[in-house]
């Protein structure tokens, strides 16, 4: 879709005007912008004002044992967690992916809940499964794993079959409720 690509270009040039230049790449017609973690709220709010009104998804990739630099971009190499913000426009149907890289020991990024209510549960899920802290999130609890769980299971150093956490869960019988 050439029209969608050109409108993404206009969007990117508008972003450059307001926030400065960011690294971008294109693969199979999908444009990615790599944004430093501290500038994420600013960039997301500019993009939202420019028409990307729908937050499609927030997810994360743990690059712990990834062989190459992510997305074949040397600038992204060496980081452990790459957050993925998928934005879309309900009016023009253009899409843009915003990537943010954060690292141990305290992976953290500003929450997008002030911009989109949709971010609430999506960020809770990323916190649950990857242990990325979203600063300013109103209710950062685990979403899919039990509250007693201690690990973040989608990290690459967490084994597929678990570490036996389930065996240590307290068993509550009918009498001691």
């Amino acid at each position: 879709m050439p029209s969608a690509t050109s409108s993404v270009d206009t969007l990117l040039s508008a972003l450059t005007e307001v926030c400065g230049l960011f690294e971008t790449s294109v693969f199979r017609g999908q444009t990615r912008v790599i944004v430093p973690a501290e500038r994420l709220p600013e960039v997301l709010s500019v993009l939202k004002d420019r028409g990307l009104d729908l937050l499609v998804d927030i997810s994360c990739v743990d690059y712990l044992d990834y062989r190459d630099p992510p997305m074949q971009m040397p600038a992204c190499a060496g980081h452990r967690y790459g957050l993925v913000y998928l934005l879309a426009s309900t009016a023009t149907n253009q899409r843009l992916t915003v990537r943010v890289f954060v690292d141990d020991p305290e992976p953290a990024v500003a929450s997008a809940v002030p911009l989109w209510e949709a971010a609430n549960w999506l960020e809770r899920e990323v916190w649950d499964l990857f242990g990325i802290h979203f600063i300013g999130h109103p209710d950062l609890r685990r979403l899919v794993m039990p509250e007693e769980f201690t690990a973040h299971p989608l990290r690459k150093d967490y084994p597929l079959q678990g570490r036996g956490e389930r065996h240590n869960f307290p068993v509550i019988t009918r009498n001691e409720r």
């Binding site: 693969f27 729908l54 190459d68 993925v84 992916t97 209510e117 949709a118 549960w121 989608l154």
Partner: protein, 411 residues
């Protein structure tokens, strides 16, 4: 997930509301309840019969599908996608392999595109039948539910003839399908296209102007257009609120661009509007199926040997050297696909909304990361917003109209 009393999300309340807090009553709805249909939990704060606040909780069916996705190959993982939204597994199969093929850069054969379009639309009909049927069932219309379920059986029969499995189909493969469509399937789909509108008419007669049903659903759980966008709604839920977003039109994949159909929208944003949108979408899906089934192109259903992704036919394996090599290499664990070290997101318009996969490839034929973007999570998250101020009996109507499928919710 724990037995301990959960804390409520902090919502701004007036001082008077805070004083009346003493009279509030907490009700645990689920995780096992006939009207949740699946395993999910709601903790409701009630003032008499009125719901003051609700706290949805999920995770009871969490099985680590995304973690498994990092250990199964692109073809094996399709069996897991069956179990995500098990109301319409075919749509999940199509969504998963659409994403994989976008990553690998595979262009499907015309025949495969049309067959996938047909099964995705049949899956949509089957999904809408169940979700509307369940709304009917929960608001007291049992006959309506049975009418819907009978037609689901017919669609199951079509899928059984198509691929041998009724429920967990695992029908798609990278670059093609597990089996080609036979004339018998085409015949069954033609019969379905002829007979289904009659049932749809009967269903509409039963419920669309039924006083009890309209009273139970109209004005209940209203979602405005702004809120729908802000809360990330998609699919029928968003379209019932006036968001004209349908990926079949907006980002036409497969063969959708070739067919004449309309995007169904409503503006009210209540449970009744969601019911109407789903009813109308079934008619539009049937239109697509009717057009597609009469124009299935001839030719192979899998991509050629040159692409080395779909298994060649036995004929090719035994009679050509390319076929033998391709079959051998695809069966070896360290050969097979050429996967770029890249990342893509690809989505289709699943019955429930935008079902997308974010796949990171690292050169192996297993995804490095297989994120599923399930529509149900965002819909379930907006539940407290929709139910506040309504009565306890409206909980089931709102829950049914959002069509929360816990297996897709928790993955």
């Amino acid at each position: 997930m724990s037995i301990a009393p959960p804390t409520f999300e902090s919502t701004p309340r007036s001082a008077a509301a805070a004083r009346s807090e003493d009279y509030l009553w907490t009700l645990n709805f689920g995780p096992q309840h006939p009207a949740t249909h699946t395993t999910l939990r709601l903790v409701l704060k009630l003032e008499g019969e009125r719901v003051v606040d609700a706290m949805p909780e999920m995770g009871y069916l969490h099985s680590g599908f995304e973690k498994i996705g990092e250990h199964l190959t692109f073809n094996q993982y399709v069996t897991v996608t069956d179990r995500m939204n098990y109301i319409s597994p075919m749509a999940n199969n199509v969504a998963w392999h659409h994403a994989v093929e976008t990553l690998l850069g595979i262009e499907l054969t015309p025949r495969c595109k049309v067959i996938r379009t047909i099964i995705a639309e049949l899956a949509r009909i089957s999904d809408h039948l169940l979700s509307n049927g369940a709304v009917g069932l929960d608001t007291g219309a049992f006959t309506f539910f049975l009418y819907a379920f009978y037609q689901r059986e017919v669609i199951y029969d079509i899928f059984e003839t198509l691929c041998g499995a009724r429920f967990t189909n695992s029908y798609t493969r990278v670059g093609g399908l597990s089996q080609d469509m036979t004339p018998l399937v085409v015949e069954k789909i033609r019969t379905f296209v002829k007979t289904f509108p009659k049932t749809l008419d009967d269903m509409e007669k039963l419920l669309t102007r039924n006083r009890i049903f309209v009273d139970r659903t109209k004005g209940v759980g209203v979602l405005t257009k702004e809120e729908a966008i802000n809360r990330g709604a998609s699919g029928p839920v968003a379209r019932a609120s006036g968001v004209t977003r349908d990926l079949r039109k907006d980002e036409p994949c497969l063969a959708y661009a070739d067919y004449d159909f309309q995007v169904c929208c409503a503006s009210a944003g209540d449970c009744y509007a969601r019911y109407l949108v789903r009813m109308q979408e079934m008619r539009e899906s049937l239109k697509i199926v009717a057009q597609a089934v009469e124009s299935i192109p001839a030719g192979p259903v899998n991509v050629g040997i040159g692409q080395r992704t779909a298994l060649p036919t036995k004929q090719q394996v035994y009679s050509t050297i390319e076929g033998t090599i391709s079959h051998f290499e695809l069966s070896m664990s360290n050969r097979g696909f050429e996967v770029p070290c890249e990342e893509i997101y690809a989505a289709i318009e699943a019955p429930n909304g935008e079902l997308g996969f974010y796949i990171a490839g690292d050169g192996n034929e297993t995804a490095y990361r297989a994120r599923c973007r399930p529509p149900s999570v965002l819909h379930f998250a907006m539940f407290p917003h929709l139910i506040r101020g309504h009565t306890l009996s409206d909980v089931v109507a709102v829950l049914g109209s959002l069509n929360i499928i816990a297996a897709e919710l928790d993955r």
